[in-house]
């Protein structure tokens, strides 16, 4: 694609901008900021990736992945400030996802251990773990708020905090996994996934692109399950006092 062609795609930004103005949606500022940020951030990462790919050094790969984990953790923690020590719990969940997925992919030599594979796949796994962690935290809080009576009932009958919050915990884990499972069911029928489309547009063999896409969606399932489970089971205890009372009660 030429830079002129890319510039013309700004028409896709102009349309919502004009619609926002006409309908008084007051989104013009947000659209402008989002567009500028997308351009700057993506070009910046493009140059960084070019440098890392050419350097062929594991140190840069580790630095890059660490940066992704830190940014993802700090972004998601805002939704979980009601949980004591949320930053470390999130970091643990996201690191676990990264270690498991890269462990399988590199350990079984499913993909080569090069920056070209490790960084994009890490980005997808870490990004997905971040989004699902936020989804989990929102749902977990909503479940606790809505069913505080039930938690108190189980505690009042002599149940432990784990028993008292079990339903809210599993419902939140389930809720954060469902979107991944559902999107997997319709993949290829309703929409072609972004990564696969990108590969095909880039000239790759469609069947090769499908293989990589399958690799990614299977790994995303692990990401969904592992991130919310680790986050849930490391978090619930901090919601109770040492006397087994719900902090909010």
């Amino acid at each position: 694609m030429t830079y002129i062609g890319l510039s013309l795609t700004l028409l896709f930004v102009l349309i919502p901008f004009l619609l926002s103005k006409a309908l008084h949606l007051q989104l013009e500022k947000d659209i402008t900021i989002a567009t500028v940020r997308a351009i700057v951030q993506l070009f910046a990462i493009g140059y960084v990736l070019t440098f890392v790919f050419e350097a062929e050094s594991m140190v840069y790969i580790v630095l890059m992945v660490t940066l992704m984990i830190v940014v993802a953790t700090l972004n998601a923690r805002k939704k979980g400030l009601w949980i004591h020590g949320i930053t470390w719990k999130l970091a643990l969940a996201i690191i676990a996802v990264e270690v498991i997925t890269q462990g399988v992919l590199l350990g079984f030599q499913i993909v080569p251990a090069t920056a070209q594979y490790i960084i994009p796949i890490s980005g997808m796994m870490i990004g997905n773990a971040m989004v699902l962690s936020i989804l989990f935290l929102n749902r977990f809080k909503a479940e606790i708020d809505a069913r505080q009576d039930e938690i108190e009932l189980i505690l009042s009958l002599g149940g432990t905090p784990k028993q008292a919050i079990h339903r809210q915990l599993t419902d939140a884990i389930k809720a954060s996994m469902i979107p991944t499972i559902e999107s997997q069911k319709t993949i290829g029928l309703v929409q072609l996934p972004g990564m696969m489309s990108g590969q095909i547009i880039g000239g790759a063999d469609p069947l090769q692109a499908v293989q990589f896409q399958l690799l990614i969606i299977f790994a995303l399932l692990t990401s969904a399950a592992v991130s919310s489970t680790i986050l849930g089971y490391t978090s619930y205890k901090t919601l109770f006092t040492k006397h087994m009372q719900l902090y909010k009660a």
């Binding site: 009932l153 505690l155 009042s156 009958l157 002599g158 149940g159 432990t160 006397h243 009372q245």
Partner: protein
């Protein structure tokens, strides 16, 4: 072990606001003590302190001769049962709800045992496999009491369990609680807004206002209060 509950200078503060102030007194064993007072007097807080759903910020609560601070929370809550105002039910049938206390302690409740508990609270056996969400308010409250009784608690705390019920259902619950007290010798502390109920169901009554215990004694004190604040409350001056 005697199942008296003794409060010794108990205070409870939340967000720097005193909810209970230096409460001292004894709930006698095997008797029904009604707890009355205006909204916000700290009655529910006092009840929750008794079974460890809250912890006193000062003072001590003693059951028999043992301070509750030395009893593990799960053990304490089995001994001191509590029926909550909203009578929350877990998803599932009445039987699932009755099994809950046993399941929490890795035990089982047979259908025969469950039916006995239903009988205790005067509910028909046909309700056992009915969905709990389909129960009427009165039935829910009875199932809630039966579920609390599954742990065989020697002390039972009741938090306004008849406030959402009509007069007939309310009377039936009163009879039921009186029978439980007589039949099993359960020590009962019952929060009620119904002064008539407090008088004829309670052996003893505590009057609480603004986090303080104003007056305590035989329930007849409601007919002949000694304290000015109690008189004002009973006359409807304090709500």
């Amino acid at each position: 072990m005697s199942h008296t509950i003794t409060f010794k200078d108990v205070c409870f503060t939340k967000n720097d606001r005193p909810i209970l102030q230096k409460i001292s007194g004894t709930f006698a064993a095997k008797r029904i003590t009604t707890l009355v007072g205006p909204s916000g007097a700290g009655k529910t807080t006092l009840l929750k302190l008794c079974n460890g759903l809250l912890t006193a910020t000062a003072g001590d609560i003693v059951i028999g001769t043992q301070s509750i601070s030395t009893i593990p929370p799960t053990t304490l809550r089995q001994k001191v049962g509590m029926a909550l105002q909203a009578a929350p039910m877990i998803n599932g049938t009445v039987y699932d709800n009755l099994c809950l206390p046993k399941k929490l302690h890795n035990d089982n409740l047979s259908e025969q045992e469950a039916l006995r508990f239903l009988e205790d609270v005067h509910l028909p056996a046909s309700l056992l496999h009915q969905q709990a969400r389909d129960l009427s308010g009165g039935q829910r409250q009875r199932v809630s009491i039966a579920r609390t009784l599954v742990n065989a608690p020697p002390i039972l705390l009741l938090d306004e369990i008849t406030s959402a019920l009509d007069h007939t259902a309310s009377l039936e619950i009163e009879q039921l609680i009186t029978q439980l007290n007589t039949k099993y010798g359960v020590t009962i502390i019952w929060i009620t807004h119904n002064l008539e109920q407090a008088l004829h169901v309670g052996h003893d009554t505590w009057v609480m206002i603004d986090g303080q215990l104003i007056e305590a004694g035989p329930s007849s004190l409601l007919e002949n209060p000694q304290q000015h604040a109690t008189k004002q409350f009973l006359a409807g001056g304090i709500r």
